[in-house]
């Protein structure tokens, strides 16, 4: 499976969309998470090992970047909707 072809809705000649994070090297070295709202940022090879806190509209969810995630966006790992749970209401 070619990870780089996954997010291929953007035309190839433009190059992938990604954000420059100033404290990226620091995050990889020390493990301090980078808080970000850039969900559309494509995960690039130089980001492997970094820890992000990705915004989902309300909170920041932790995402640890691994090699298999390259080519996907940060937002894919930070779900935006709460999972449906059914609690029976005891209204009589």
């Amino acid at each position: 499976m070619l990870p780089s072809l996954v997010a291929c809705s953007r035309s190839v000649w433009k190059g992938p969309y990604f954000v420059h994070f100033a404290n990226l090297k620091e995050s990889i070295a020390s493990g301090t998470p980078i808080k970000t709202m850039a969900r559309a940022c494509t995960i690039m090879p130089h980001m492997i090992g970094a820890r992000f806190m990705v915004h989902n509209g309300k909170e920041y969810l932790p995402v640890r970047v691994t090699e298999e995630m390259i080519g996907r966006k940060l937002g894919e790992f930070s779900h935006t909707r709460k999972a449906f749970t059914y609690r029976l209401t005891k209204n009589k």
């Binding site: 499976m1 932790p62 640890r64 298999e68 894919e76 790992f77 999972a83 449906f84 749970t85």
Partner: protein, 145 residues
Amino acid sequence: MLHLLGVNLPDQKVVSVALTYFYGIGPLTARKICSRLSFHKECKLSELTEGQLNQLSGVLSEMTIENDLKRQVAANVQHLRQIGTYVGKRHAMGLPVHGQRTRGNSVTAKKLNGKMLRKYSTVADTAFTRQAMGMFQSPLSKHQN
């Protein structure tokens, strides 16, 4: 019934239709194979000669069909689940993946999605348990460290 590459193909059917009985071959691919091997459009499977059948199995063994394809698809879904994407979570929960509504109408998704992930389940496979499993799995994937 002709036995070809692990699949029983109905003899009396037209070749391009009989080929669709393979998992991974639909009407377009079947027609392409027939034109590539110069089979007549209305030719039946039983009318093919030995040599032509050998050619056919040669072409088919080059393609990924049947178990190879199933393994590939399962591996893709597993991969998505492993890295913890939204799509992987939807497969785990047995819910629609492409943003459809779940208030009503998600019958096929509930039936088919994430089948490859349920292989080693020891729990009874009902919609409730599937949701429960999905619930347990998604928080875990957040703390993938």
